[in-house]
Amino acid sequence: MIALIVRNSWTQLRRDRAAQILAFVVPIAFFSIFAVIFGGGGNRMNSMSRVAVAVVDEDQTEKSRALVAALSADSGLRVVTAPPARADGKPSTDPLTRATAEQMVKRGDVPSALILPAGTGASIGSFTGGGVKALVVVDPSDPVAGRMVGGLLQRAALRAAAAGGGFMGLATRDPDEMLPLEFEQHAVLGEKRESPMVAFYAAGIAVMFIMFSAAGAGGALIEETESGTLERVLTSGLGMTGLLLGKWLYLTTLACAQIAVMFVWGMLVFKLPLLEHLPGFLIMTVVTAAAAAAFGLVLATLSRTRQQLAGLANLIVLSLNAIGGSMFPRFLMSDTLQRISLIGFNAWALDGYLKVFWRQEPLSALAPQVGAILGFTALFLLLARRLARRWEAA
């Protein structure tokens, strides 16, 4: 009898293509996605990819130039010594200044900058302390970049010092404090926040959650098909387009409410600075909710059963969020993966929230994100309408 149950269950699985895909293909897909992100070459924490650092040499001495050269030669760093391209797309000819470098970090062009003030060259390899300190400017939303730059700076300083005449005063200080070049770290954003990463995680989790939620709520279409209410609604004066728009508006308002609840909770419990950034938050929330709602409708119209919808939602939502930065910050991924992740509207949404809460950029800076997300929304709505044709008169 027990063998019968086992055999019967295997027979049913053999005849259910969707269940087979869920059982065997989805785990492989997830494994591959996470392996790419966290393993072989997907993120910056391995030797294959390099941390970008804007270097400003204010010292302009032989030693400081040797240090910059040593930094440039380091396989762990990608040294940027020129400002970003001008608005017309042509490379800037201006020299990189301390202010420009800080601005680049603020905007997220590079995760860190290294300032070598006048006199830094003379301090390299002194080990005596008290000399001019280098300054590492970091974006605290990237917890790795600053430490990496600090560490690699020491290696470059040792190389530069060895090339330029050796070390001084090695025996006079506590070995723990001895560095070939002392530096101090300066965070350009979020220094005053109690929990600077809360904004990032609130956005990440909220976006992922509303994608799941919209897919689940969109499944009401499948239930209505089964119960006959969809047929009844379509027999009335309301057409398929009207029905889908109604569902989309409902899902959009639901997603707005869900994001709002999450951020208010973040504000009350984790001191998330919601009120300071309310306009940007509202803009990003409305467009993100609209896109998530349309995305949910696509999944619902694509699926024939609740089971199919659940499988599809798990696969697509988790994959998009894995590469889109909800689980692991995009700025820690390789440049290639960062570019690939832009195929998901959620990556744009997270970028937008990050601009609002982290980079504190003006509302106009949200234009690319808002535009892209609205584009995704229109695309999803058209796709859902197309897929919903199967419910129309045959």
């Binding site: 119960s227 006959g228 009844r232 027999t235 004066g237 008169a393 045959a394």
Partner: protein, 303 residues
Amino acid sequence: MAVLEIRDARKSFGATRALAGLSLSLGEGELLGLLGPNGAGKTTLIRAIAGRVRLDGGTVALYGRTLEPEKPRPDLGVVPQENALYPLLTARENLETFGQLNGLDGKRLRERVAWALEWSGLAERAMSPVRTFSGGMKRRLNLACGVLHEPKLVLLDEPTVGVDPQSRESIYDMLGALRARGTSLLLTTHYLEEAEARCERIVVVDHGRAVAAGTLVELVEQAKLTGRRVRLSLDRTPERVPAGFARGEDAGTLTATINDVGRELPGLLARVQAEGLAVRDLEVRTASLQAVFLALTGKELRE
């Protein structure tokens, strides 16, 4: 003028021919029964009238006006076989939803909802969620949602399936009240005795066509089952079957088919008595709708 006129309706789904030139008409205030085996084309026909199926050929006309697929049909009410209701909404909310979808609003919506609650006997449960309703209550509400907007023609797909005799009676009372107002009803059912008792005319559909149409008497003639069936209950099971009889399904019964009751019945009874058998009960009846149905559509399983 006929309320509903269907002419030469044809529809195929791939290689399957669902409607193969079906025609029928329905008069004002009439209750027309649509019978047929599973897969005969009844549901496709209902969906075509409701605008949910595009015909490959033929026309559907309501009051002489040809209907286009997916265009609103304010004169039409549809009561699906499933209880197509929102289980988490109350009876009133369901009625309001479907009333508004069918163009009602404001005072008229309120009046019609109040009427529907009264008509379906659900006024006291107006504020209860539908998921708490019994099967019969859901059926009545399902019906009410389809007729709330006072359509002139109502399509009913198996409106009494799965309900107890009391609820069934109540549903037919509700349909009777609609007919009294002049509403025409087109009803599909597999309960043949129900169709026999309630419908004025019956259309038997098979293989996508109307194979017979008319009153029961007309159907009996069309099925060439005009003979009367005689069934005798005897005091014992006879050893020998008298001439003109066949053994009945139950022990101690004999059956025969005669065309003229007055002339043939006395001879039959005389032959039974000649065998020394005593007649305990005698039943003479015309062919049932079941017999007509099977004669017209055969006994072969369709699915």
